[in-house]
Every structure is written in structure tokens, then in C-alpha cells.
């Protein structure tokens, strides 16, 4: 359900955004038609996907590709396209 | 005292604006209310221009240009040749002061100004002899002081000193004051 929008009295003046990093709260995962899925056996952890992802939705742990942030991934498929070993498949949601 | 209104006629670069301001500032210094303002057309050296000084014991609120001056001061004699109607609005008891080597009678003939007073002084000659450049504005200010005692020569000299000493140095400042004094003495009235 959509969040109740605030009145003019409740928001910062001048269109200012006072909270840093608030884009985290804006979930764009729902825009997705195809979701990326990784074949762990093929992945060589080159992190091309992490470099190219326009929405910072590739999770990395200890220098290794650790999956997708499905709250924000829009399913654009760039990661699958740039993967040199083709270990990412785009599957219909 | 009623308001005194002075119209200065000169050409851009002859110092009419400066003279109008010095007169006003001298009067302000002794507690009068003043206005001094130029009337610009296209701002270029050599173009006819006007400047005005208003002096009063009461606050001055009017903000239009002077249409009925008490004193008209012509800094550049070539302006009498018809480019500008010098005596327009000059009251019957008004005073016309002209920088010229001619006599007041000659100027009356040339301008057709029959009333009031006409004063002439060769301010350009005085400027050339004192300041060594043809800048007749300060001598014409001296001529004004002769016909109107609202401020004294000393009061005006103080302003000239304050304004010029840094910009022009001591010699030229003294020459400017000398020019004022000479025109004060040499003004012919008729």
C-alpha cells in the first residue's frame, strides 16, 4: 500500500532532502519483469556485474559476488550481458 | 530661505557634474538639505549635458529635474549657439552665468535674456592659467559664489581639498582653488 503523502507543513522547505542515503528506502525491485539469477559454479568473481550495475544492486562480501539486492534491482539485465562466463540468467518473475 | 535651484550646462567631460556636487556638498556641510544630480542622455564625452543642484533649509522631497532654475551656469560657451535653450525656465529675477570672454551686454544680446542678472567670466582662460588644462568647472563654481552667498569660498575650498588632494595632488588642488578665487574676482555682472 502506498505511503500517506505529507502536507506542506510536514516537509522540509525548499524541496530540501535532509536525510542522506534515503534512496535505499525507495524500493524499485517491483519494476522488474526478469530477475537475475547466478550459477555459483560458473562465477569467477570478476565483479564486472558489480561495476556495471546501474542500481548498485550487486552484493559483495569479502571481495566475492554474493548475490542480488532484489529490493532495488530493476531487472535491466546488464549484469547478465557483461558477465564474461555467462553465469547470470534472466528469469521471468 | 526658499529652495535655491541651479542648472549647470556643459559638455560631457567638462566637470559640470563634479561642480554641481561640490556646491551641494559644501552646503550639506553647513547643515543644508541638498540634491545634486546629472541629467544623462547618451553618456559620451563632448555631448551637451546638464547637472543640477538644489539647496534648501527644509528637507527636499521633489525628485524631478529642475525646470525653473534660479541660476543657470553655462560652462561651455558653445552651448549658447543654439543646441540647447539655455534660458528656458529661467525666472525673470534669475541669474545667467556664462564662461566667455564676452561682456554681459553681448550675452544679453545673444540670448535675448532681458531680466535678472547676467554674469560673464573667461573661465577657460583662468583654468588654462591656473590648472594648465581647459577645465572651466571650478572657476564657474567661483562665479556662482559671487552671486549667491549660500556657501562661502572657504566652505567650497574645504570640499575641493577633501575631494581632490588624493586624486590630483597638492599642486593641482591648489590650482583649482585658485581658479575658483580668480573667477570670483573677475566675474563681470551686467
Amino acid at each position: 500500500m502506498a505511503e500517506k503523502k505529507k502536507s506542506w507543513k510536514e516537509i522540509p522547505i525548499g524541496g530540501l532532502i535532509l536525510k542522506a542515503g534515503n534512496a535505499m528506502e525507495y524500493k524499485t525491485g517491483g519494476w522488474r519483469t526478469f530477475r537475475p539469477e547466478k550459477n555459483d559454479k560458473k562465477c569467477i568473481n570478476c565483479l564486472f556485474c558489480w561495476i556495471y550495475c546501474p542500481d548498485s544492486s550487486i552484493k559483495v562480501e569479502d571481495g566475492k559476488m554474493a548475490g542480488f539486492d532484489y529490493d532495488h534491482c530493476k531487472g535491466c539485465g546488464i549484469c547478465a550481458q557483461v558477465c564474461p562466463v555467462k553465469c547470470i540468467d534472466m528469469k521471468k518473475e | 530661505m526658499a529652495m535655491v535651484e541651479v542648472a549647470w550646462h556643459g559638455r560631457g567631460g567638462q566637470g559640470a557634474k563634479t561642480a554641481s556636487q561640490f556646491l551641494g556638498e559644501a552646503a550639506l556641510d553647513i547643515g543644508k538639505y541638498i540634491q545634486a544630480f546629472p541629467e544623462y542622455g547618451p553618456e559620451r564625452a563632448g555631448a551637451p549635458m546638464k547637472a543640477f543642484t538644489r539647496i534648501s533649509d527644509e528637507p527636499i522631497y521633489v525628485h524631478s529635474s529642475v525646470t525653473n532654475p534660479d541660476v543657470v551656469i553655462v560652462i561651455d560657451p558653445t552651448l549658447l549657439l543654439g543646441a540647447v535653450d539655455i534660458t528656458d525656465g529661467l525666472e525673470d529675477d534669475g541669474i545667467l552665468l556664462v564662461n566667455t570672454d564676452k561682456s554681459p551686454a553681448d550675452i544679453r544680446k545673444e540670448t535675448g535674456f532681458k531680466h535678472g542678472k547676467v554674469g560673464t567670466v573667461d573661465a577657460t582662460k583662468i583654468a588654462l592659467e591656473t590648472l594648465k588644462i581647459p577645465m572651466p568647472n571650478m572657476p564657474m563654481l567661483g562665479a556662482f559664489l559671487k552671486v549667491n552667498s549660500i556657501v562661502s569660498i572657504d566652505e567650497v575650498s574645504d570640499i575641493v581639498k577633501a575631494k581632490f588632494i588624493k586624486k590630483l595632488g597638492e599642486d593641482k588642488t591648489r590650482a583649482n582653488i585658485e581658479g575658483i578665487k580668480r573667477a570670483y574676482i573677475e566675474l563681470k555682472i551686467g
Binding site: - | 541638498i34 545634486a36 522631497y61
Partner: protein, 397 residues
């Protein structure tokens, strides 16, 4: 008087404003010279070069850049000023609106000049009247003295937490900007004390509390932000009197949204902004001697529009002429006229009202012109109707 009267010193209106800016010593000034504002920038540049102020002066390449630099500086948390005229204001246009919508308290002296074309450098109000809906507070000054005082006052108005709107301090090009008059200056320390130090609520340079200025704002919230601007402008009407009072207490100069002259018992009144009001005063004195009950109303603040003050000042007036030094080409008269008429619509008073467009492109307005307006008002009063609602005073027929 809160302080002993100092000696008046001879200054042009531009010099008076530059002096106010020197005393305020803003953090940043970004400006581009344009006649007849040039002297403000010129004199202020001297102060910067001589080390008399600690201002960072940004000599930009255009007015669009001037206002852009001001927006950046003000958002960064700096007390910011600029100054302009006519086509310079027009070139700033896009950013003028942005400054107001970002709620940046920039103070901008504007030396009113005709907006081209045909090209003209002399006074009328077409430049700032065009910007009347930009969200800036607008103050109009009768003299260099007022321009000086309002520039100081404007800093406090703009930066007040309940207002946070940019302010234009308008004076008449050449007529007051280039006329030397005796100006009473305030003690510099007192000015500094009055304006205080500017502490922005959300400065961009506060890296510990990051903030975003100017994000995209669409159908869901843009309207609310505009609503905030409306409410801030209305709020200014309530807050400004406190600042007027404090100004009077500090400097002894009395301020209000409007100024009146012999209006209390006047039958006929002229309503005019800026220097023309001064010229009207002498005419009123002369008419009063003839037994004509003439008066003057001069709105000092045009944005926000001081409706209540204006209505209460006009309550005894039977016929009024609104003098507009700007044409709005609406075929319905000038901007001040339409505002005054609109204010009267739902009030109890219904004076006859006429409009005179005058003084465009620096056309001089003489006491005789204003006398004619009063004489027209007298006739309207007698006939109980206005013969011509929109007139052109001083234009050749």
C-alpha cells in the same frame, strides 16, 4: 532617537547601498555591472580590494551566472548578496525563481531601469514588476537614505527563520541612484550587531549533516513546496513588523509596509511607489494651502502585498489615483493599480480609482503632472465617476 545623530554625508543612492553592503560585510557577493547599478558593484569592489570587507567577491561573466553563484553560495551557508538592473535581472530570470523556491535569503538591491526594448537605460519599474511573481520580497525606496536603510533591514527579513525568502531592495535608476543627497549613516558596529551572524539551517558545507538541494520535485510534492512559499510570504506580513520595530529601536528610523502623507483627512489621494512619492509631497502642500484635501499613500513593500495596511490607510479617501511606473500590457492598467483594485473589491470602502501609467523609460514626472492627477481626481469626485480609468501621464497624444 536611539543614537546621536551623526553628520550627513553626501552620497548617491548607489553609494549609499554600497556603503550598507560594506557595513553588512556579507560572506559572498557575486555580481555583474549594469547601468545604473554599476556604481554599487564598483564601490563594493573597492571595499573588497582595500580589505575593508572580508567578502568573497565573484566577478562573474553574466547575471545568469551571478544569481547562480549566489544560489550556490547561499545554499552553502554564506550570507549572500548581488545587485542588478533591468536586462540584468531579465538574464537572471530562471535562477531568480530558483533562489526563491530554494528559500535562500539572498538580498539583491535592484536599481530600477526600463526593460528593453527599445533599449533605454533610464528609470521605470518594468524590470522588478515583471519579477513580482517570482517569490521575492520587494521593497521600494523613495530616496538613497531609504535604499541604505532597507538594504540593512532586508538582511534580517530574508534570513528570519519564519520567512526565509530572498529580498529585492528597489530604488529608482538615476533619479535616486545617481543623485547626491545627504545620507545619515549608522554606526558600523551597530549595523553588524543588528544583522548578526548568519547561521543557515541546512548549509551544504555541513558535511556531517548532508543535505540535497534542488532535487526533482514532481506532481506528488511540488505543489506543497509552492504552498510553503505562499505561506512564507503571508507569514512575512506578520513577522516583518517585529523587524521594523527592532530596526526603529536600534537606529531610530521608523518603518512600515506603507508610508502616508497628509492622508488621514484626505478626500483625494495619489498612490505611488519610490521617488515619485517625494515629488507628490510638495504638490500636496501646495494644494492643501488652496484648501484641497489631498494626500499620498506610498506602499514601501509591494511583495508581500500589504492589503490590510493599504485598505485602512484609504478608509477616508473618496477618490484615488494609482501611479504605475510600469505598463503590464494587460489592457487593464498597471500592476499596482490592478492589485489595489483587487484589494478593494471585498472591502467596505469603495473609493473611485483611476490609473496613470507614467515615467516609462525615465520620462520625467514633474509636480505639474501630479497636480493634473489631483485635478482629475477632483473632477471625478464632483461627477461621482471616473471619466477615464487608464491614463498615460506625460505621454504625447
Amino acid at each position: 532617537m536611539a543614537q546621536a545623530k551623526s553628520k550627513k554625508i553626501p552620497l548617491t543612492g548607489d553609494q549609499a547601498v554600497a556603503t550598507a553592503m560594506k557595513q553588512i560585510d556579507p560572506d559572498v557577493v557575486a555580481a555583474y555591472p549594469i547601468t545604473p547599478q554599476t556604481e554599487i558593484v564598483m564601490y563594493f569592489s573597492n571595499y573588497v580590494a582595500n580589505g575593508q570587507v572580508s567578502t568573497e567577491l565573484i566577478p562573474v561573466e553574466s547575471e545568469h551566472s551571478a544569481m547562480s553563484a549566489c544560489v550556490g553560495a547561499s545554499a552553502a551557508g554564506a550570507r549572500t548578496m548581488t545587485a542588478t538592473s533591468a536586462n540584468g535581472l531579465a538574464l537572471m530570470w530562471e535562477i531568480v525563481y530558483i533562489a526563491a523556491s530554494l528559500r535562500l535569503p539572498i538580498v539583491m538591491p535592484v536599481v530600477n531601469r526600463a526593460l528593453s526594448g527599445p533599449i533605454n537605460i533610464h528609470c521605470d519599474h518594468s524590470d522588478t514588476m515583471g519579477a513580482r511573481d517570482s517569490g521575492w520580497i520587494q521593497i521600494y525606496c523613495e530616496s538613497g537614505q531609504e535604499a541604505y536603510e532597507n538594504t540593512i533591514l532586508a538582511v534580517r527579513i530574508a534570513e528570519h527563520k519564519g520567512i526565509l525568502l530572498p529580498v529585492m531592495v528597489c530604488q529608482d535608476g538615476f533619479i535616486t541612484s545617481h543623485a547626491v543627497e545627504g545620507v545619515q549613516l549608522f554606526d558600523e558596529n551597530k549595523v553588524k550587531e543588528f544583522v548578526g551572524e548568519y547561521k543557515a539551517a541546512h548549509p551544504l558545507l555541513d558535511v556531517d549533516n548532508p543535505v540535497t538541494y534542488g532535487p526533482l520535485d514532481l506532481q506528488d510534492y511540488y505543489f506543497e513546496h509552492k504552498r510553503q512559499q505562499s505561506e512564507a510570504m503571508k507569514g512575512a506580513l506578520k513577522i516583518m513588523p517585529e523587524l521594523f520595530k527592532e530596526f526603529e529601536k536600534t537606529f531610530g528610523a521608523k518603518y512600515d509596509f506603507i508610508d502616508t502623507y497628509r492622508l488621514e483627512d484626505a478626500d483625494i489621494a495619489v498612490i505611488a511607489l519610490s521617488s515619485t512619492a517625494g515629488t507628490a509631497r510638495g504638490v500636496i502642500d501646495a494644494l492643501r494651502k488652496e484648501g484641497v484635501k489631498a494626500g499620498l499613500l506610498r506602499p514601501r513593500v509591494f511583495r508581500p502585498f500589504p492589503r490590510e495596511k493599504i485598505l485602512s490607510a484609504l478608509k477616508n479617501v473618496k477618490a484615488a489615483a494609482v501611479l504605475d511606473r510600469a505598463e503590464s500590457f494587460s489592457a487593464e492598467g498597471g500592476p499596482l493599480y490592478t492589485e489595489i483594485k483587487a484589494a478593494l473589491y471585498d472591502s467596505d470602502i469603495k473609493p473611485l480609482v483611476t490609473n496613470y501609467i507614467y515615467g516609462l523609460g525615465g520620462r520625467d514626472i514633474f509636480p505639474d503632472d501630479i497636480k493634473k492627477v489631483y485635478s482629475d481626481l477632483g473632477a471625478a469626485l464632483k461627477n461621482k465617476k471616473v471619466s477615464n480609468p487608464i491614463n498615460y501621464l506625460g505621454s504625447r497624444e
